[in-house]
Every structure is written in structure tokens, then in C-alpha cells.
């Protein structure tokens, strides 16, 4: 793929990722055993601020 096409695709994909809304019910369905399709979700403890 030529350079300008790569740049365009990267730019376009980044914007799409940011702008595409989420369908809540389907987002929930992707969560199986604390994993979001291969990506481990943070444990609730990780969300507690360190200063506490």
C-alpha cells in the first residue's frame, strides 16, 4: 500500500474509532469472564485512586 494511502487509512480509522458510538447491550455481551474479547478488564481495585 502506498504511503499516502496508509496515512489516510490510519487517520480515517482513528477518527472512526473515536466517533463510533457504543451499543450498550452488545458491549455487555462481549464481556465474558472479565475479558473483553481477549483484553482483560481492569479489576475494581485498579480503579481506586492510589492516594487512598
Amino acid at each position: 500500500m502506498s504511503n499516502w494511502k496508509k496515512k489516510f487509512v490510519n487517520d480515517f480509522d482513528a477518527r472512526l474509532e473515536k466517533e463510533t458510538p457504543h451499543v450498550e447491550t452488545l458491549e455487555k455481551a462481549t464481556t465474558k469472564n472479565g475479558c473483553l474479547y481477549g483484553r482483560k478488564l481492569p479489576s475494581p481495585l485498579a480503579l481506586v485512586p492510589l492516594s487512598l
Binding site: 504511503n3 499516502w4 487517520d11 480515517f12 472512526l16 466517533e19 463510533t20 458510538p21 452488545l26 465474558k32
Partner: protein, 164 residues
């Protein structure tokens, strides 16, 4: 198609894990199809939710697993056209004018380039998603030859912008 035939088959049968997989694989394309028709982000979001609701509700009616891709695309297109028609019928000209002044359309947010709506849409489908000319022609209801002409123009402008 962005998912395997097996996943598509399970999806049509009502499997929720397959539904999640289909959603992950098809998160972005329906949104792009929708923004080619609607003018505000709010409408795009509503139509996007409606698209997935319709697809999930009617998934048992999909003729075959290989038809899933075009079923999803056509549902997004139909929902967006319905929304655009509704807006056109219910909007008075003063409100329409003020809508245009405020913020960029969702399509402009995705592709802030000096291209026409057709050029942006076709460039997104062809370069961004790698759709075939037949698919593009069906999605925007224009002949393949016209789509190729728009693409040629878009490509020149995009190349100029991204070669800098």
C-alpha cells in the same frame, strides 16, 4: 465478510457470543454508512442503535450466513434513509439553516477534507473499508462507472493532502 461462516451461522441461530463477535467485527462500517445520509451526530447515534436492534431482532430471517454482510449494510442504509426522509419532512427551512451553521456533520468529522459528500463516501468505502465497486454502487445507488469517476477525483485530492 468480516466474520467466519461459522460465526455468522451461530449468530443467525441466536447465539449471544456470536452476536458479540459480529458486533466487534462490524462496529465501524454501519456507522460510516449512516453518516453518509444523516446530518447530525445525535441522529447518527440513534440510527446506529436502531440498526443493531433491527439486525438482532430479525437475525433469524437472514437468508444465509454469507448474506450477513450485505444484510447489515443494507439495514444500516435503510435505517439512515428512513431517518433522513423523516427529518426532511418534519424540518422547517429556518431550523435547517441554523443546523448547518453550528457544528460539522458526522461525515465531515470523520473526513475533514475538501471533498464532496460523494467523494468522501466513496473514498471511505473503497480505501477505508476495501468494499467492492458492486457493494459501493449498491450502497449509494449510483452506477459503478459514476462511483469510479468520483473515486478518481477523490483519490487525486487525498493523495495531494497526504503526500505533504
Amino acid at each position: 465478510m468480516n466474520v467466519s461462516i461459522r460465526t455468522a451461522t451461530n449468530f443467525i441461530r441466536g447465539d449471544d457470543v456470536a452476536a458479540a463477535e459480529v458486533y466487534q467485527a462490524y462496529r465501524k462500517l454501519p456507522y460510516f454508512i449512516i453518516v453518509a445520509y444523516v446530518k447530525t451526530k445525535e441522529d447518527a447515534e440513534d440510527v446506529y442503535q436502531e440498526t443493531f436492534t433491527r439486525v438482532l431482532t430479525n437475525r433469524s430471517t437472514i437468508a444465509s450466513p454469507s448474506a450477513l454482510h450485505s444484510y447489515l449494510c443494507q439495514t444500516a442504509r435503510n435505517c439512515a434513509i428512513d431517518c433522513a426522509k423523516n427529518k426532511e419532512e418534519n424540518l422547517n427551512p429556518e431550523v435547517e439553516e441554523s443546523l448547518g451553521e453550528n457544528e460539522p456533520t458526522p461525515l465531515e468529522s470523520l473526513l475533514p477534507l475538501n471533498l464532496s459528500v460523494e467523494e468522501k463516501t466513496i473514498a471511505g468505502y473503497r480505501i477505508g473499508f476495501g468494499l467492492s465497486w458492486k457493494e459501493i454502487s449498491e450502497l449509494i445507488s449510483i452506477p459503478m462507472s459514476t462511483a469510479k469517476l468520483h473515486y478518481h477525483e477523490a483519490k487525486k485530492k487525498i493523495k495531494e493532502t497526504y503526500s505533504k
